[in-house]
């Protein structure tokens, strides 16, 4: 169980008044939530995530983890940086995944087992012996995600973790996030620039100039047309289509389907994946 509380935090990068990023911001994330943190560039998404990890300290207010004030680094949370290059430490893929476990003093067998499992989960096991810097951007993002998964942290702080991951791998990883939340009770806080990544989260928190301007389930957020527009975001077309189909009584509720689910609902089954 991990509960993160931000209590009236104030934060700025510089020293001037105009540099204030957050003023008395409060946010409570309870155990097992999957929070999608959205907002325009520069709204403070990454900063908020770093405050939750203890990488940055607020100048006022308190960060509490499970009720206890955060003094140093949040021991329950694994952080995944937006730029994987900043986080890769070992020249070989499998070693990079094992690095954190080695630091934690685990035995070699456990490290091997966990590294393999984590690499399989992100679809990178065939690349285990390859050089990390030979991986593409999307693969490097999957690599540092594997490193975080291998730690079996109870909380994952993910800064735009899928920005370079494309196509089907992205769908697979979003499904994986849902899985580790359900099966392992992991708490996830994920920033993103694309709303199709928050369709399945349990809660959307929208930031604008350092203030929380929306906090609620994704379906409710998708109805906030003017806010979404103001934040420079876009409702995913499939969500729009789902709403229209529900309105036309062609589908029950506004349940979002994947394109393939929708096709099989119509009676078309697409064989797509060959891998």
């Amino acid at each position: 169980m991990v509960e993160i509380e931000l209590d009236n935090i104030t934060f700025r990068y510089g020293h001037r008044r105009g540099d204030l990023l957050f003023t008395e911001l409060s946010l409570r994330i309870t155990s097992g939530e999957w929070v999608g943190l959205v907002g325009p560039s520069g709204a403070g998404k990454t900063t908020l995530l770093k405050v939750m990890k203890g990488l940055l300290r607020p100048e006022a207010g308190e960060v509490r983890i499970n009720g206890a004030p955060l003094q140093e680094l949040n021991p329950f949370a694994a952080f995944v940086f937006a730029n994987p290059e900043n986080q890769i430490v070992s020249p070989v893929v499998a070693e990079d995944v094992g690095f954190g476990l080695e630091q934690a003093g685990l035995d070699i067998e456990t490290i091997r087992r966990r590294a393999e499992q984590a690499l399989r989960r992100v679809g990178l096991w065939e690349r285990a012996r390859d050089l990390s810097h030979h991986l593409s951007g999307g693969e490097q993002q999957r690599l540092i995600l594997a490193g975080a998964l291998a730690l079996r942290a109870r909380c994952l702080l993910l800064d735009d973790p899928l920005s370079m991951v494309d196509g089907h791998a992205r769908d697979d990883l979003l499904a994986l996030f849902g899985e580790i939340r359900k099966e392992e009770g992991c708490t996830l806080v994920q920033t993103t620039h694309q709303l199709d990544e928050v369709v399945n989260v349990s809660r959307v928190v929208a930031l604008e100039r350092g203030r929380v301007v929306f906090d609620g389930p994704p379906m409710a957020f998708f109805r906030e047309d003017s806010l979404i527009d103001r934040l420079g975001l876009e409702v995913p077309p499939l969500v729009r289509l789902g709403e229209e189909l529900a309105r036309a009584n062609l589908m029950a509720g506004t349940e979002i389907m994947s394109s393939r689910q929708l096709l099989s609902f119509i009676g078309v089954d697409e064989a797509r994946r060959t891998d």
């Binding site: 999307g138 993002q141 791998a169 393939r260």
Partner: protein
């Protein structure tokens, strides 16, 4: 204008050809055209981009720019002469200066030899188009900016060079929904008759509507090369496992292939809604 012919590449000399990053890939782009290169992570997109940008000599094959071999002579700097410019996937990799202004000024000053006045005018214009608050960030270190602003600085620096061939590696990463749409639209508008663009991207919905050709890579091989319309209509499992078509296009295309819709393959909610509605009616009639 630019043609990469039969390109094969490996980073490990002597490795088995099946492990090469690129295998016998041929792609080209003419003036006034955009080629979209897409495919799964690790399929060789960035490597191909670096090769066509003149940054990585391919193990095999040739790259011709206006008929001239790009790697023909040893000491050749294509970017400095303003012919090819590339924006990298990681903006940080591109940054070298301590301030945004120096970062942006460098190529225009040293590469193109513009005077301060011309540099100022050109940068102000491009920064405005990309919605980068140049005044506010000019003296800051590019590394201190948010990821979205770093992306914009990197893009302004190459767009301002107005190269004949612009190579963009995942130019939309780190940007928001509307910024993405806006940037894609801006790129489309900036594409002039005498220029060409090579775009690596996985946001197909933003580039398919206007790209001239699409090249799909999978494990270093070219598995598709054709028009966006041909890609949208394809039923080839090898291609469909390598790219994830925008969901509405996938639905629209699938209905058409299964003879449940006669209309064009579309990415518009209203059109696809209508196609789904008709498809359901047809299904109920069967």
């Amino acid at each position: 204008m630019l043609k990469a012919i039969d390109i094969s590449h490996t980073f490990e000399a002597g490795s088995a050809p099946s492990r090469w990053a690129l295998r016998s890939v041929t792609v080209g782009v003419e003036a006034g055209e955009t080629v979209l290169i897409t495919g799964p992570s690790g399929s060789g997109k960035t490597t191909l981009a670096r090769i066509v940008a003149g940054l990585e000599r391919p193990s095999q094959g040739t790259v011709r720019l206006k008929g001239e071999d790009l790697y023909g002579t040893e000491q050749r700097s294509t970017s400095a002469s303003g012919q090819v410019a590339m924006a990298f996937q990681y903006p940080e990799r591109q940054f070298f200066a301590d301030s945004v202004w120096e970062e942006l000024r460098w190529g225009l000053h040293l590469g193109l030899g513009l005077d301060e006045e011309a540099i100022r005018t050109r940068l102000a214009k491009v920064a405005h188009e990309l919605d980068l608050p140049l005044e506010a960030v000019a003296r800051r270190s590019p590394r201190q900016l948010s990821s979205g602003q770093q992306r914009k600085v990197a893009l302004v620096s190459v767009l301002a060079l107005e190269p004949q061939v612009l190579v963009l590696d995942e130019p939309l990463t780190g940007l928001n929904g509307r910024e993405r749409r806006r940037l894609a639209e801006l790129l489309r508008q900036r594409l002039r008759q005498d220029r060409a663009m090579v775009v690596i991207a996985h946001e197909l919905e933003l580039f398919l509507p206007w790209a001239t050709t699409v090249a799909v890579l999978a494990a270093g091989r070219l598995v598709f090369h054709g028009s966006p319309q041909e890609l949208a209509a394809t039923g080839d499992p090898a291609v469909l496992s390598a790219v994830s078509l925008p969901p509405l296009i996938e639905i629209s295309s699938s209905l058409k292939r299964h003879a449940l819709s006669e209309g064009p393959v579309s990415n518009e909610v209203s059109i696809v809604l209508d196609q789904v509605r008709r498809a359901v009616e047809k299904r109920d009639l069967r």
